[in-house]
C-alpha cells in the first residue's frame, strides 16, 4: 500500500489573446470599463485563438513541466484530461495530448467531461489510480475554451469566462497530503448552464442558428446559456453544506484549516459565499482579476498564485471546493507538501 499521495507540481497556461474591459466597453457602449471591473472583479481574460483548441492549451500547460529538469514524459503512467470543449467528438483528446507530449505507450489516458467541479474530481481519480496501484504518477490536465461557445453579442458571458489550462502532477509521497473527498450531483440544474445544440440530442441545423435574446443576452441554441441567478441559488444552497462536509470528513474546522480556495466563479458570488461561510478575508482566495472564470482551471490557477504570493506555504491545509455546471460539486483538502513548494519556487 502507498503511504501517501501528494500534489508535486502545478503549472498553468493562458492563451496570448486578451480581452480587456476597455475592449468590451468599446463593443457594448452602455458599459464602462470601470463598471465592468467593479461588478465582476475581472480586468481582463485570455481568449483562445481561432485555431487554438483545449488540447493545445493543455499541452502548453504540461510542457512547462518538462521545460524544467525535474520531469520527463516517461515519468508518467496516466493522463487525465478534463474538458467540456474537446477538439473532436472522437477520438479522445487525451490521446492527442498523449501523442504530442510523447508520453510512454504504457501510459493510460482518458477524458472526463466536467466543468467547475472537474479539478477536484480529477484529483480524486488520480488518487484512486495511485492508491489502487494502477498508476504511480498521474498527469492531470484541465483546459477549456468556453469562448468558442459564447455568442459574440452575449456581453454577460463574454465578461465572465476566460480560456485557460492547468497541469497538475499527482504522485506517491511519504505523507498523505490529498485528503478525503465529498461529491454531489443535481441534474435538475442541467438547463441553467448548457449548450443546448450541437450534440446528438439537438443536432446543429438552420433553426439552431437563429439568434434569440433571453434575459437581455443574445445567443443561439449553439451557444452557452447560463441563468446566473439560478446557478447562484444553487451555490448558496450547496457550497456551505459541502464545505461543512469536507471539514468534518477531514477532521478539520474553519479555524484549523489554513486557507480556502473555492472555484472562482465570480467575485460577487465568492464574496457572498465567504461571508455566509464565515471565512476570514485573509484565509480566502479571490483570483479573478486577470483570468475570469476559467472553469475547471480556476482552482489550480488560484493555488499556483497563492503559492507564488505566499498566501499559502509549506504544511498549510487548504480546503478546495468546486461547483457548477451539471449541477456538480466536489471538495477535498490538500496539505501543501515540500515538493509543491519547491516546484513553485
Amino acid at each position: 500500500m502507498v503511504d501517501g499521495i501528494t500534489i508535486e507540481a502545478i503549472t498553468t497556461y493562458l492563451p496570448e489573446n486578451r480581452l480587456t474591459n476597455a475592449q468590451l466597453a468599446k463593443e457594448f457602449v452602455d458599459w464602462t470599463a470601470e463598471k465592468i471591473g467593479q461588478k465582476t472583479g475581472i480586468e481582463s481574460r485570455a481568449i483562445a485563438g481561432k485555431d487554438e483548441c483545449a488540447s493545445d492549451l493543455g499541452v502548453k500547460a504540461a510542457q512547462k513541466l518538462f521545460s524544467e529538469d525535474k520531469y520527463k514524459p516517461e515519468d508518467f503512467d496516466f493522463l487525465l484530461f478534463c474538458t467540456q470543449s474537446p477538439d473532436y467528438f472522437l477520438p479522445t483528446s487525451a490521446c492527442l495530448i498523449h501523442e504530442t507530449l510523447n508520453l510512454p505507450a504504457h501510459c493510460g489516458a482518458l477524458d472526463f467531461n466536467l466543468g467547475c467541479s472537474g479539478y477536484i474530481y480529477g484529483l480524486s481519480l488520480a488518487k484512486g489510480l495511485i492508491s489502487t496501484g494502477s498508476a504511480t504518477r498521474v498527469l492531470l490536465i484541465t483546459a477549456e475554451t468556453y469562448s468558442k461557445y459564447i455568442h459574440p453579442n452575449d456581453r454577460g458571458l463574454r465578461t465572465i469566462f476566460g480560456d485557460g489550462a492547468s497541469a497538475t502532477v499527482v504522485a506517491k509521497s511519504e505523507q498523505s497530503e490529498i485528503g478525503s473527498f465529498v461529491f454531489g450531483t443535481d441534474g435538475s440544474g442541467k438547463n441553467n448552464l448548457i449548450v443546448p445544440a450541437g450534440g446528438h440530442r439537438l443536432p446543429k441545423s438552420a433553426e439552431t442558428k437563429n439568434e434569440i435574446v433571453q434575459d437581455g443576452h443574445m445567443r443561439t441554441l449553439e451557444n452557452i446559456y447560463m441563468c446566473g441567478a439560478e446557478v447562484f441559488n444553487f451555490t448558496i444552497k450547496t457550497v456551505p453544506k459541502a464545505l461543512e462536509e469536507v471539514l468534518k470528513k477531514n477532521n478539520l474546522t474553519k479555524e484549523t484549516a489554513d486557507y480556502f480556495v473555492f472555484h472562482q466563479a465570480n467575485q460577487y458570488m465568492l464574496e457572498h459565499l465567504r461571508k455566509k461561510c464565515e471565512i476570514p478575508e485573509n484565509k480566502f482566495c479571490i483570483n479573478m482579476e486577470n483570468y475570469g472564470n476559467t472553469v475547471s482551471s480556476t482552482i489550480p490557477m488560484a493555488l499556483e498564485k497563492a503559492l507564488i504570493d505566499k498566501s499559502i506555504k509549506y504544511s498549510d491545509t487548504v480546503i478546495l471546493v468546486g461547483f457548477g455546471v451539471g449541477y456538480s460539486w466536489a471538495g477535498t483538502t490538500v496539505r501543501i507538501g515540500k515538493e509543491l513548494v519547491n516546484w513553485v519556487q
Binding site: G156, D215, G228, A229, I236, Y268, K275
Partner: protein, 76 residues
C-alpha cells in the same frame, strides 16, 4: 427585519440614492440586469436568510413587489 439596510443595499445595486426607492420604483427600467438579479439574491440571503425563487424575482415589477416576494418567501 433589516428592511432599511436591505433597501440601502438595493439602492447600491440599482445605482440610485436610497431615498429614490419608493414602493413604485420600477425595477426593469433601472439597471435590474442579470448581475443585479444575482446581487439581489445575495443581499436577500444576507439580510433575511432566505432564497428567492428566480422566476418570481424576475417577475417583480417594482420595489413593492420585491418586498412582497421577500415577505411571502420568509413566511413560508
Amino acid at each position: 427585519m433589516g428592511t432599511v439596510a436591505f433597501l440601502n443595499d438595493m439602492a447600491e445595486i440599482l445605482q440610485v440614492d436610497a431615498d429614490q426607492l419608493v414602493p413604485q420604483f420600477e425595477l426593469n427600467e433601472n439597471n435590474f440586469d442579470s448581475l443585479a438579479l444575482i446581487s439581489t439574491i445575495a443581499i436577500v440571503d444576507e439580510h433575511f436568510g432566505i432564497t428567492l425563487n428566480v422566476d418570481k424575482l424576475t417577475a417583480c415589477q417594482n420595489i413593492q413587489s420585491l418586498l412582497d416576494l421577500v415577505g411571502q418567501t420568509a413566511s413560508k
